[in-house]
């Protein structure tokens, strides 16, 4: 059983670039306690970093440093569920992803970031609303549990 199964951890961090590394470290420590393997932890770090960066750059870019980003980790028995919420105006995730798929000439960092999140995590949901900001929910299942399923 994963450590602290059923617990959750919630942090509110400034929407400033220097706190992306803080968020990555915190989530990798939680994943390590849950006995994810090193490759899974690296996947989680990259996906979290991309979601947090997206929240800073597109969630509330005008007022960097004045808004807070909420990072929530739900520790389930077989999975880590990470939710990143920013209070910005929201955006259309489908458009950002499509920009990447049109090829190198139209590559955008946001498109690359969303592609990485979708590729590295087992489940990803985006919800964006001008009144509620943007919420990215990402699920990573433990490799051992996935192997047992097979």
């Amino acid at each position: 059983m994963a450590a602290c199964s059923g617990c959750h951890v919630e942090m509110r961090l400034p929407n400033r670039a220097e706190f992306v590394a803080v968020a990555r470290l915190a989530v990798s420590a939680i994943a390590s306690r849950m006995h994810f393997d090193i490759n899974e932890i690296e996947d989680i770090k990259v996906a979290l970093g991309e979601a947090y960066t997206n929240a800073i750059q597109h969630g509330c870019p005008v007022s960097e440093g004045t808004e807070m980003i909420t990072l929530r980790c739900d520790l389930e028995e077989d999975a880590l569920v990470i939710t990143v919420h920013d209070p910005g105006d929201g955006f259309d995730p489908a458009t950002a992803t499509r920009q990447h798929r049109h090829g190198t000439a139209t590559l955008t960092e946001r498109g690359l970031g969303m592609l990485l999140i979708e590729s590295l995590m087992d489940e990803v949901d985006f919800a964006s609303d001008p009144d509620d900001g943007t919420r990215v929910r990402m699920v990573k299942r433990r490799h051992a549990m996935k192997a047992e399923e097979r």
Binding site: A17, V20, T53, E109, L116
Partner: protein
């Protein structure tokens, strides 16, 4: 929090138009501007053949990938090229996911990358 905590960028010139950029540490939205500034500085001085050594780069995100793609476009517009050296398996995986593995030439060592850039220069 200073950038130097997470990232170190060292540049050195091989010849009049070829330079090496050694990047150690973590390249993310906070630290990548430091690497971008160093590469833009080289471009301004006429170094359009760049070797970016990622041997000691522990972490790299979409911001860093975006900057590297931007630099690649800039140097190629000027008749140059940008080659990556020794990305870790983790970084190579990110390049594969984003399909940038097909965009960047990748070499095992600085020497190999430098030789290829010099060869390209002689042929152009």
């Amino acid at each position: 929090m200073g950038n130097a905590i997470n990232l170190e960028v060292h540049t050195h010139c091989v010849d009049a138009r070829t330079a090496i950029v050694d990047i150690s540490g973590e390249m993310d939205v906070y630290t990548t501007p430091q690497a971008k500034t160093a590469m833009l500085d080289l471009l301004e001085k006429g170094y359009y053949h760049l070797v970016v050594n990622l041997q000691h780069t522990d972490y790299l995100d979409s911001t860093a990938l975006g900057v590297l793609v931007g630099m690649l476009k800039r140097v190629r517009e000027r008749g140059g090229d940008l080659r990556l050296v020794a990305p870790s398996p983790r970084i190579r995986r990110l390049l594969e996911i984003t399909r940038l593995i097909n965009v960047f030439p990748i070499d095992a060592s600085e020497q190999e990358a430098t030789n290829k850039l010099m060869q390209e220069g002689m042929e152009s």
